[in-house]
Amino acid sequence: MATAPGVATPEEYVGDTLAREQTSLWADAWRRLRRNRLALVSTFILLLLVVVAIVSAFWTPFPIWRQSVGPTYDPPSLHHLLGTDQRGRDIFSRLMVGAQVSLQVGVGTQIIVAALGITVGLLAGYFRGWLDGIISTIINIFYGIPDLLVALILVLLLGRGLDKIIFAIAVTRWMDMARLVRGQTFALREREFVEAARASGTRPNKILSRHILPNALGPIIVQATFGVPQAILFEAFLSFLGLGVQPPTPSWGAMAADGFHALRIAPHIVLVPAIALSLTLMAFNFLGDGLRDALDPRQKR
């Protein structure tokens, strides 16, 4: 289940496979995923988004920062495909660059979250005892505080660069991954192949990287897929509140906030980034659902 920010739903299911079954598992998963139309459409939308983001790095129809490339509040037309905003900037161009920001935030945070969450989760799940006690307590404390507010304060303390925002979001949203990996490790370390490796004197770091991590990969991928839209949503909230990336870099959240005051005369200024944002989030959530069903058929709703 994907969650809106703040509501945590643990997905502590276990990737129940031996290493030698891996190849067939991935092949099976791919076959199941291909049959899921929603997930396929979502994948297509997301690929398109990636292409747009890459293209926007080199070319946009109009320079995004230049004001008055057209009249202000102009509705969508042939010249300006998605219209212009309150400063006469081309919305289509800004939307393209916004995709870049959203993807950077989404993927960037998940890389940090994965690095932090997997490490912490593996350690807690494998060594248990006092280490697990401390880590679990920290996880629970983080769950108990409103993530967006902490991120806001972090942005206040650190500043508004893209890297700082990514850091701020990752710091407040790493717990789901850590908890998942911890649960997986907990279950996997009891399995025969891990016992065997331990009995033959394999060192913990090798057991974790060779035996446990590969077997927990499926759920980790699913979790990361659900984590991306959460991070994007988060950045949109920050930008919407005026605390996201520094203008004039366009962000979908900031674009929506800009247009809100002109809702009556030019609703397209809000609607365009709002729809882009919702579509992207939906695509990630459907893909996550599809991946989960594909990688763990027993979890099916």
């Binding site: 703040g6 967006l148 507010l149 806001l152 206040l156 809100f260 809702l263 944002l277």
Partner: protein
């Protein structure tokens, strides 16, 4: 009503809530005070003598340890200090008033979230695999994929623009309100936008837990007694299905608080969330700390309420 044991438990938990609130605000306090002292004053062009006076007024000239001591002793008396921007304005009464505004909207959103979520979830579960079920499931994916400000925008567009034009002004919605508290009509749209993403989550959870409960043996027993389907669902299934839903009430409260920060700014609701963003933008650190303390208290109390709800719903759970 409440047994002696329950009262003692309540007391212990209240102390814990207060302790947590102090701890949380301490962390924010210490984090914020890593910044250099004069960052606390927005007015940079002030002359050194006056600056010194102001620094002194806010105890910013003291060592961090002494400032912290003053802060903790203040917070224990319920005094959160003075606003840095609007000098001389005490923070506690200001935030207390704003908290009641937020509470009004937040409570409306929470009631709406749980109500709609449970109704959708129960219907989807009873009519499993029917079109209602698919519609409810699809709605919930859309629900949690739409940022609340997008939902707010769409609603405002519909009610304040399209329906307004269509009905020639008979239907209207005013963004932002003039008084402190909103009317029922005014809070309806913010509460909807605030609650809808979470209603989706409640609906999914209720559906799953309802389906689980409907498979249980005691439901068969209830039917075997000759009870009507309606009574079986309301009396036997719903109450058991409620237990996992209560579990997410804590996270739900945090979610509503988080969402209210955005929604209050969209609709110009003079609550804690709007104050929080305003104080961050204007760098009024004292208020930032104060709002955080309030939120920590609210979350602690919500969790406490959840625990008591548990014992009320499930007789197997005792304090």
């Amino acid at each position: 009503m409440l047994s002696r044991r329950a009262l003692i438990y309540l007391g212990e938990r209240l102390v814990l809530v207060a302790f947590t609130a102090v701890a949380v605000s301490s962390i924010v306090f210490l984090g914020v005070h890593q910044l250099p002292g004069n960052a606390f004053l927005s007015d940079r062009r002030i002359d050194p003598v006056a600056l010194q006076a102001i620094m002194h007024h806010y105890h910013l000239d003291l060592s961090l340890f002494d400032q912290y001591k003053l802060f903790v002793s203040g917070i224990l008396r319920g005094d959160l200090g003075e606003s840095l921007v609007n000098r001389g304005i005490p923070i506690t009464p200001l935030l207390l008033r704003e908290a009641t505004v937020s509470l009004e909207v937040g409570a409306a959103a929470l009631i709406f979230t749980i109500g709609l979520g449970m109704v959708l979830g129960v219907i989807a579960a009873i009519k499993q695999n029917s079109w209602i079920d698919y519609l409810a499931t699809a709605t919930s994916v859309v629900g949690y994929s739409m940022p609340n400000f997008v939902i707010a925008t769409v609603l405002v567009l519909i009610f304040a623009v399209y329906l307004y034009n269509w009905s020639g002004g008979a239907i209207y919605y005013e963004i932002g309100w003039n008084g402190t508290y909103g009317t029922l009509g005014q809070i309806s749209i913010p509460a909807f936008a605030l609650g809808f993403p979470y209603a989706s989550i409640v609906a999914r959870l209720t559906r799953a837990s309802m389906l689980e409960v409907l498979r249980q043996d005691y439901i068969r027993t209830a039917k075997a007694k000759g009870l009507s389907d309606r009574i079986v669902i309301i009396r036997h299934a719903l109450r058991n299905a409620l237990i996992p839903v209560v579990t997410i009430l804590g996270p739900l409260t945090i979610g509503i608080i988080t969402g209210s920060v955005v929604i209050e700014n969209v609709f110009g609701i003079p609550g804690l969330g709007k104050e929080f963003v305003q104080s961050i933008l204007s760098r009024d650190y004292n208020i930032v700390i104060g709002v955080f303390t309030f939120y920590a208290l609210a979350i602690g109390l919500a969790n406490l309420l959840v625990d008591f709800l548990y014992t009320a719903i499930d007789p197997r759970i005792r304090y």
